[in-house]
Symmetry: C2
Subunit: 500 residues, 2 copies
């Protein structure tokens, strides 16, 4: 390795170490920090993020990148160092576009907005929420202006979560999803619902966690390099490939929530635990942007986690764990219950068939806010109308309507589409995996996960962020993102379950 | 506040924030980090400590200190900013005396030595321990040479843990302790031992923690700004005054260990929780050096925690918590059992009467190693001889003899005396407090702790590290450290308990 590359790697390693420190404190804040620790923690995290930003956006970074160029000239395109210089330069150039003062003001106001959201939502206080949202919309627009864009202002925002994704691409995929999912949901609505009474019985929290951890360890999540804790909102966080943690929350009379949240977060976690060790302490050492990451959490949560194979294998274990709640339930009934389709108000509780419709509501409203077609005052009514249009339900209030998510109040516009596209990408990768290794399908049916897991490690996980998302998609699937495998998956699975 | 002082405070605040990040990761490493996370964590902590050291020892610090001088000229000696500049300058000058390479080598070898100790101790492998100790002794001697000293090489080492403390001062206090404690221990040995069979019954771990936390909350430890976790070795760590955590470990057939460890660590914690908010994010914002800190942990653990007043009040609660173990035990018996005196091999398990003798053994051997009077090969036999001389017991092996503590293998020489002097200081402060507020004694007898707690906050805790230890001692007690109150306390308490 050349000397300039080594210097660059040490510089980026230091920044990575500071980010790890920040992440550990973030994890602690959500799990164990005593209530009084909040203001002090905000101070410490503020300093860390300022130091990280200053180090990364310094002229030093540019000088080191320039010095590294001659050393990587002639190396193959997929060489670690070539990918490292390319991604670092892209991130560097982007980060230099936002003035420091803008970032500082935005960060501070996003924290205040988020606090305001926490207070306003339970009180259904749209007026208290509104003027913060107006500010956040304005920040997002200015952010897009600073970044610049060719076709659509919203492209600049998408790029923060998914490099090179365009509004036009999202629209074209969403057009297919809308055309195919809406009739499917309607057809299912006409059918009798499967039994679900037993899902609301008493399931002690600790045992829910124990059970779900047995399953995700079978999937491939390594507890020697991970752990599970309780947090107000489930999340996964990775300090390095050997310390990747997940959290969940428990409802003792609704075990589905914690169990599938653990599957979901473990999906993110397995990705991070299997990034190549060669990428450690570099900007390539985490999972590839939002769509790939979400594709894996949703694959392990839904495609695998709600499959018949998993429950043929684990339902007997579950029944042994909760004999009181499940003595009169068959595996057929259980499998049908965890795949029950029912249009409802809340995105994070939505089933697989209706989930993407929630995203489409947000996507269309985000764009309208960004272009100025709609102002914040019109939002509650527009939300209700879109929910009625896409899901056939109308929220009775704003707290379970437009105010349900934290993203906008944290300054995130352009994030939501990656959730739906993650579903799409997950099904596409899963189809590729099965095509390349037909044993995967029969293995899963028999409750064996290593053929799928190993394929994903080899083809997706180990590459971390070496490649741009669209490049990785081509490498993995041989073609760009495509909704067809997802639609085929939904129609196949729910066609069988509901006879539609 | 002047501009230069503000700049200095911001610089020190940034260093303090990085130290907090480091402490949070240290806490996490001892409590929740998955086993695989070790190497990555060492990497991250290494970067943090390098950044902290570089920032603090940079010319910037000196420049800011010099710039601040005119702004504090004429302010009273006890003004926060005057104290801040003085302590920072003292720490700065000291830290500049050690070459960076020396610190880096020493830090790395101390980690390796510590690892070697973990492996060698359980195997009673003095040979495997020895060559690391030889290195550590050599580092300590070089450290003292870099620092420089007037009378005794060991003075330079003591100063790291207790600024301005001298070997001669330690010796003169230890002379008194030796003369008074040895005969006391001998006299007690001739008396019948109190009953202690019930201390080895079954006490479920979780309930031990719940009980002890009830007690320390009554003492004054604030759970809104603190918490208790399990760790291999009990410790207290403070991120800021509003986030001060303690840990313990449990033995279900020996509850005394966890309960008094919690009292001890909460004593440290109450000190840290009550440092003045005005000192936050500065080098003055933690408890004052080792002796004062240990004086408070030992006061709450022993002087208060093993007092008759506490157990008159809390023994009924304890018996309710553990009805099976304590149904045939009286408060007299319990109070006698937690104050049982018995010379034994292990320092961390020693009772109040014999504890200081363990320290004297170490102090004399440390000095002999430092001056070269003794070499490491002679240490095991010398240890056995000293243990026989001071405690009347001879360790059958090295693992419960010379190899029992981690301090030397972590590079700490000069730390041990502060434990014994902490006992002495604790009793002296307690005597001052009672003299100034006679209600304290009757309050404690009645299980009320706020008069003592408030006195300590007002006279000791709130000052943090504003003053040098000897100055604070004069402020608090009106005279230098003095063994008389401690001896009087021991003789009074144990005279009564054992009729000697």
């Amino acid at each position: 390795m050349g000397k300039a590359i080594q210097t660059l790697r040490e510089h980026l390693g230091e920044i990575s170490d500071l980010s790890v420190a920040s992440s550990v404190m973030g994890w602690d804040q959500q799990t164990y920090m005593p209530p009084g620790g909040g203001p002090g923690r905000a101070q410490t995290l503020g300093t860390l993020s300022r130091l990280i930003h200053a180090k990364f956006t310094s002229e030093d970074t540019l000088r080191m990148l320039d010095a590294a160029e001659p050393e990587i000239a002639g190396l193959p395109d997929d060489h670690d160092d070539v990918c490292l210089v390319r991604k670092t330069r892209r991130d560097y150039e982007k980060s230099r576009k936002l003035p420091d003062d803008f970032v500082a003001d935005w960060t501070r106001d996003a924290i205040l907005s988020n606090e305001a959201w926490r207070v306003a939502r339970p009180k259904n206080d749209f007026a208290g929420y509104k003027h913060h949202l107006v500010k956040m919309v304005d920040y997002a627009r200015r952010q897009a202006d600073y970044y610049g864009y060719e076709e659509h202002l919203y492209d600049a925002l998408l790029d923060d979560y998914e490099p090179d994704l365009t509004t036009a691409e999202v629209k074209s995929i969403f057009d297919v999803l809308r055309a195919e999912q809406a009739p499917l949901v309607k057809a299912i609505a006409a059918k009798p619902k499967p039994r679900s009474d037993f899902m609301f019985r008493h399931y002690p929290a600790a045992k829910q966690g124990e059970f779900a951890m047995k399953v995700v360890q079978a999937f491939g999540y390594d507890l020697n390099r991970g752990r599970l804790d309780v947090a107000p909102h489930p999340f996964e966080t990775s300090f390095n490939r050997d310390d990747v943690r997940i959290t969940t929350r428990y409802k003792e009379d609704f075990p589905q929530q914690a169990i599938f949240a653990i599957f979901h977060e473990a999906g993110h976690g397995m990705y991070e635990q299997n990034i190549g060790a060669n990428l450690a302490r570099t900007p390539l050492g985490h999972g590839n942007a939002c769509i790939f990451h979400e594709s894996q959490s949703r694959t392990w949560e839904n495609i695998v986690g709600r499959s018949r194979g998993v429950w043929d294998h684990f339902f007997p274990v579950l029944r042994e764990t909760f004999p009181d709640a499940l003595s009169d339930v068959t595996v057929d009934e259980f499998h049908a219950a965890v795949n029950r389709v029912e249009p409802d108000l809340i995105r994070v509780e939505a089933d697989e068939c209706t989930y993407n419709m929630h995203i489409m509501v947000r996507f269309e409203l985000e764009i309208a806010l960004m272009t100025g077609e709609m102002n914040v005052d019109e939002l509650p009514e527009a939300w209700k109308a879109k929910m009625q249009e896409y899901l056939g339900v109308t929220p009775p209030d704003d707290k379970d309507g437009v105010m349900q998510d934290s993203h906008w109040m944290g300054g995130s516009f352009g994030y939501f589409p990656t959730y739906a596209l993650g579903n799409v990408m997950g099904a596409q990768i899963f189809a590729t995996a099965k095509a390349q290794n037909p044993a995967i399908e029969s293995d899963l049916a028999a409750g064996r996960f290593d053929s799928l897991f190993n394929w994903l490690v080899e083809n997706v996980y180990r590459h971390g962020s070496k490649f741009l998302p669209k490049e990785l998609a081509l490498k993995v699937n041989g073609k760009p993102l495509d909704a067809a495998p997802y639609i085929a998956y939904l129609k196949g699975k729910y066609g069988e379950l509901y006879g539609v």
